[in-house]
Symmetry: C2
Subunit: 383 residues, 2 copies
């Protein structure tokens, strides 16, 4: 396999982008990435999107965005793995460049969720339609069961869940593209509207519109650019049972464990070698479980870690979600995995401004679909 | 890039599979492919599906099918490019094996279209929602405009359109997996119900359920099998404007031209070197335009070619759609591109039984999305 680099990035603000169509959002992000990389063409593109069919009645998104970017006849492919669609888009671009088939590939992601579709129903198609959704379950309920089990098994507290949201909002305040750039207090989270016990409104990532894109390139292309190179040293993906009830346990996400094990092996790294990470905090409990399953903290100690500030951007042992995470930055599902890569790229190239993580040399991005039935993990390193 | 081989194939019958769910259909096809290849595992899988969200309310299909195949935690990814989703699935598997990231990859495709969704509306999401569908156009109308333009510009006749359907039904009669295994006469096609002038019911491919899967592997894996090897010598993809009205002309599908040019170059082949082909005859006019755009016949002569029997399986210069094509075999949209690869594989390995094409050494598969906004072309060769 050839070496692969990220050479540019661009994204739109995440939020309720009522005056922009899905294709405009994707084009804005892509043009910013192309300009940032300083390339005059791309060989092909991938676009991660979870459900443009249900959200806005548009499938065949690869062709739509290639057309509106004005870059036909390039190969343009949509990939989907629910909320991991962006991470998968990046992985396919990585594989295409690694294979030698292309030298410069645009990996993007986009979602338009606020145009009037039934968002909860559309998102529920990431769960098992026959064995879960039919019986009325939606995602807050699934993650609430994970939270209850984690609290029961490890003594994780309601305050610890809230601490995730508080930290991520603090980080997001320094991210100009974040949907919610406002401080939260523990009390605000804990008094917010109940959604699915024990998860409250401010434990949940929001419904968002947004697009993100990065340019992935071969070593030869990257070496010609006069800037700090960021290398993709691992790309790994794993699956798990689609339904939560089929798992051996509720408190470990096996796809996260498996994908990260593969990624660590590929990059010749241990969890302790990772300086900072972007993880899939669709709900506060998810961040706690994931930081354990990635090996950053012992199983059951993720809640304590966030409470003690071990995941804080400024002074933590391992800053988690310096971008603000899904909770504060927003979660346009198809774009999320790419936005994580952008945060890694900006941190590793020393361009993260006010939210720069000190000594950021090795970053990890973990993107997840459904209640963890698919997971993709990437490791990027400054070179 | 590493060499890539097809080492096994399996598919369900195409048709109205009312007693099978989408996941069962995919599992049936995949197990048949795995058994045919004789492998004891696959490293990862791709599943092409156009719109399971709109057809049956299920996204996140990669994880669903990996789970029901019992092969978690492998990487499992859905890809979508409207009716080219199957071809894209095969291409991604090709790239993954070519890159060296995996040695054995399952490339599948599936669609469940007869479960009650509004199929015409769901299929229309492959066209431009904002500039085409909103104004009432659906696919029979788009292809009817292509047909009218081709008739006007080149004198293509109504009989020539019908000859495509007649030929493909004749081929499909010998395919045990075909949806329609019945002979058609020119008169039947030309007297069938008008759908969108000049296209009649029997010019249109049907609404179908079905699944198809192939096993793609490295040279090392392929060399261990005691059977005739089939090598993938080209994989190429191109895009075009999503809307038909934005094209320079209606009678040439530019993505087909571009993708096939790339494929011929990659395989070091000319159109005349191709012994037989599977092409995307979603409507009879499509086959005529495509056989011209692939370079098999001069522009404007595709209708005459089919009428003269040049594309007949038994004695034609270049047999087209020996499987029966989309018209007779059926068109479960996500599975179609993989079923084309299966026909190539069976012909090239001499296992096509009653419909064996003589001296089949080099085959081409052309799979297309929408009104031609995306196209993927593969060339496979017996070695």
């Amino acid at each position: 396999m050839r070496d692969v680099y990220v050479i540019g990035a661009g994204m739109t603000p995440f939020g309720e982008l009522w005056n922009k169509s899905m294709r405009e959002i994707f084009v804005d992000a892509s043009l910013a990435a192309i300009q940032d990389a300083g390339v005059d063409h791309v060989d092909s593109l991938y676009v991660g999107a979870m459900s443009p069919g249900l959200f806005i009645g548009q499938e065949h998104l690869g062709a739509v965005v290639a057309d509106f970017l004005g870059i036909t006849p390039i190969a343009a492919t949509r990939v989907e793995s629910a909320c991991a669609s962006g991470g998968i888009s990046f992985r396919q671009a990585f594989l295409e460049v690694a294979s030698g088939a292309s030298d410069i590939v645009l990996a993007g992601g986009v979602e338009k969720m606020t145009d009037g579709a039934d968002v909860t129903e559309a998102l529920a198609t990431a769960a098992d339609q026959e064995y879960e959704v039919y019986h009325g379950i939606t995602f807050p309920g699934l993650y609430a069961m994970i939270a209850r089990a984690h609290m029961h098994q490890f003594g994780t507290t309601r305050e610890q869940l809230a601490a995730v949201a508080v930290k991520n909002h603090r980080n997001g305040m320094k991210n100009p593209n974040a949907q919610f750039r406002s401080e939260l207090t523990l009390e605000q989270v804990m008094k917010s509207t109940m959604v699915a016990d024990p998860l409250r409104l401010l434990d949940c990532s929001p419904v968002s519109d947004g697009g993100a894109a990065v340019i992935v390139a071969s070593a030869e292309v990257a070496s010609k650019l006069k800037r700090k190179n960021v290398k993709v040293t691992a790309s790994a993906q794993a699956s798990d049972t689609i339904t939560l009830h089929d798992r051996k346990q509720l408190t470990t996400l096996d796809a996260v464990v498996r994908a990260s094990e593969k990624a660590y092996k590929m990059a010749s790294k241990k969890p302790g070698d990772i300086n900072f990470a972007e993880v899939h905090d669709c709900f506060t409990i998810a961040e706690i479980v994931i930081t354990e399953d990635l090996g950053f903290f012992e199983k059951g100690k993720g809640g304590e870690a966030v409470e003690k500030g071990l995941t804080a951007r400024e002074s933590g042992k391992i800053p988690i979600n310096s971008s603000g995470g899904l909770k504060s930055k927003g979660h346009p599902v198809g774009a999320t995995g790419i936005a994580q890569i952008i945060e890694l790229y900006e941190q590793l190239s020393g361009r993260a401004g006010d939210r720069q993580v000190k000594a950021a040399k090795v970053g990890l991005a973990q993107n997840m679909g459904g209640s963890g039935a698919s997971c993709v993990v990437h490791i990027l390193e400054a070179t």
